[in-house]
């Protein structure tokens, strides 16, 4: 498979995964990633359908994802609720809200609708460029800025960050919203570049794939990008195999990155680069 289509195909997972790296480094695991991507897809499509301008669609999609992520953040950070519980609820909510809105506006099965797409130059679109630039940018943000250090402290040992005078809640919310922004790009990209349309549950687990790729990419933005490209590559190989008529179970190829991620976790174990306080709600001591 050629490189550009592969890049395009992998972009939603790659964008969401890189954003989720920042979120998880701050100590939050956004299980609701799938939901915020789906909301972004729907509102990107809707705004684009109404205005015929894909860029307004992109804006609407990102806004939708930010609002969804904020909802997650209020519960997970300010109410110290369990992140898995809230994330699962957000996913269900997104699936239900987008599905119901879509059906009530476009009919029971959802007519075949098509909206203008974001154009590119020889197959290279601006979001793709932004995605490639994001790997070094996010690396710099995490490793070379004071904000990045503070966020990582919140993920490793929030009490120390609080003692050093940082607001754990605020930093965690900020890192969560960075992830939300990227999930918005990811969902909009799916609707406005790849599909040019919307379908119920169109993200189809890509948000969870992104969370898995964060693990596979050892909580580093650059590795998360590579991981997402690898899985895109594995998935695209199935079509190759089918055209050649090879009898290789392509499902094994698709499952491979997840299995590798598990094996890496087994081998590295507790010494993994996982943030120390990942998924633990933080309550400020009074």
């Amino acid at each position: 498979m050629e490189f550009l289509p592969l890049l395009q195909y992998s972009a939603p997972v790659a964008l969401a995964a890189m954003g989720e790296v920042i979120t998880e480094r701050g100590g939050i695991i956004n299980i609701g990633l799938e939901g915020s991507m789906l909301v972004a897809s729907y509102f990107a499509m809707l705004a684009c359908y109404v205005t015929h301008n894909p860029w307004i669609g992109l804006g609407a999609g990102v806004t939708g994802a930010l609002v969804t992520t904020l909802l997650f953040g209020v519960f997970a950070i300010y109410l110290s609720a369990d992140q898995v519980v809230v994330g699962s609820a957000v996913n269900l909510l997104a699936l239900g809200v987008t599905g119901t809105l879509f059906r009530s506006k476009f009919g029971q099965s959802g007519q075949l609708l098509s909206v203008p797409r974001i154009g590119g130059f020889h197959g290279v679109d601006p979001i793709m460029v932004f995605m490639l630039a994001s790997a070094p940018l996010l690396w710099l943000l995490l490793r070379k800025t004071g904000w990045g250090l503070a966020v990582r402290a919140c993920g490793e040992y929030p009490k120390a960050a609080e003692a050093a005078g940082f607001s754990v809640s605020r930093l965690r919310l900020q890192s969560l919203m960075v992830g939300g922004f990227y999930s918005g790009l990811a969902g909009s990209y799916l609707a406005l570049v790849i599909a040019g349309s919307f379908a119920e549950n169109m993200t189809a687990g890509r948000g969870f794939v992104a969370i898995a790729m964060v693990t596979f990419g050892r909580w580093k933005p650059q590795f998360a990008l590579i991981a997402a490209l690898l899985i895109g590559c594995a998935e695209s190989l199935q079509y190759k195999f089918q055209t050649y008529g090879w009898k290789v179970p392509f499902q094994m190829m698709i499952a491979l990155p997840y299995i590798i991620a598990l094996i890496v976790l087994v081998l590295v174990g507790r010494g993994a680069n996982a943030p120390g306080a990942l998924a633990q709600p933080y309550r400020k001591e009074k």
Partner: protein, 335 residues
Amino acid sequence: MVIGLVAVLVLTLLVFRLPVIESLKLLISGAFGDQFAWSRTAVKACPLLFTGLGMVVAWRAGMYNIGGEGQFVMGGICGAAVAKFVLVGSTAIPGWLGSLVILVACGFGGAAWAWLAAWLFVRRGVAVVISTILLNFVAIQFLGYCVSGPLQQKKQEVPLTDTLPDALMLPKPSPQMDLHFGVVLPVLAALVVFVYLYRTRPGYRLRLVGENADMARANRIDAAKVQIQAMLISGTMCGLAGGVEYIGVAGQLGTDFSQQWGFLGIPVALLGGLHPLFSILSAIVFGALFAGSENLARFTNAGATLVYVIQAVAVLGYVGIKARSDAVKAPVEAG
């Protein structure tokens, strides 16, 4: 809780500008209107209660199992494998025993899949949340491989397994209805889980480990062992959910075998207060909502998606209220 749910239901209908009274009528008649509606409600509640119980046991032990989906699927695969390679075509085994063997295989498959996540957590410190997400994907791909490979139907046209002979399916009171006698199984399981959690020592230890694993260890309880046990029970329940869906409703496996049942167990368990007996109630409520929404979908543009909204809002409301009352009770987190 019931009043809250009705309020959420009415609000949701209002938000989506559906006629409230009409929709409520359709929902109720679809869920409880006649014996067919009742049977649909029961059949939908059945896997929900099984996966819900799975979540209750695991989460009570502090193991955030969100791999119900994978365990459900692996249960189905094990059941289908046993059915294909052992039972179908052999006349020596009576049908009821065959069904039982399939169910046992399903429970075993789910338990084995959950055990992997438990082992990763106990021995290698891998968060259960992460490992179960990964294992879900592996299970779903494995299902895709099985139904187009070793378990595929004899004709090999579409990625589906052969339909089970009626003898191996769970018996039904009436051929016209969806209802099968398997619906009593999760209720029995809920009673067993209740007795286990609240009336036995291992159950007490399990809850203690979930409350505070360090305290449990200080009291010479082997927390790792308890956590593995909890995951094994949880996986068994999710595998059985796959089992009743397989030999009660579907009769065959395809790539779309699990309709999110594994994930839907989470709201069922949470709104049942992570208690096995209250989970029966919440499973019936959600089963009824799913059955009713099928009826609603026939006359309006809304459908099952509406139930997701209601579930999600209910969970968020529950979590919000609980967080506020917790904040009053215990403002400072213990070290």
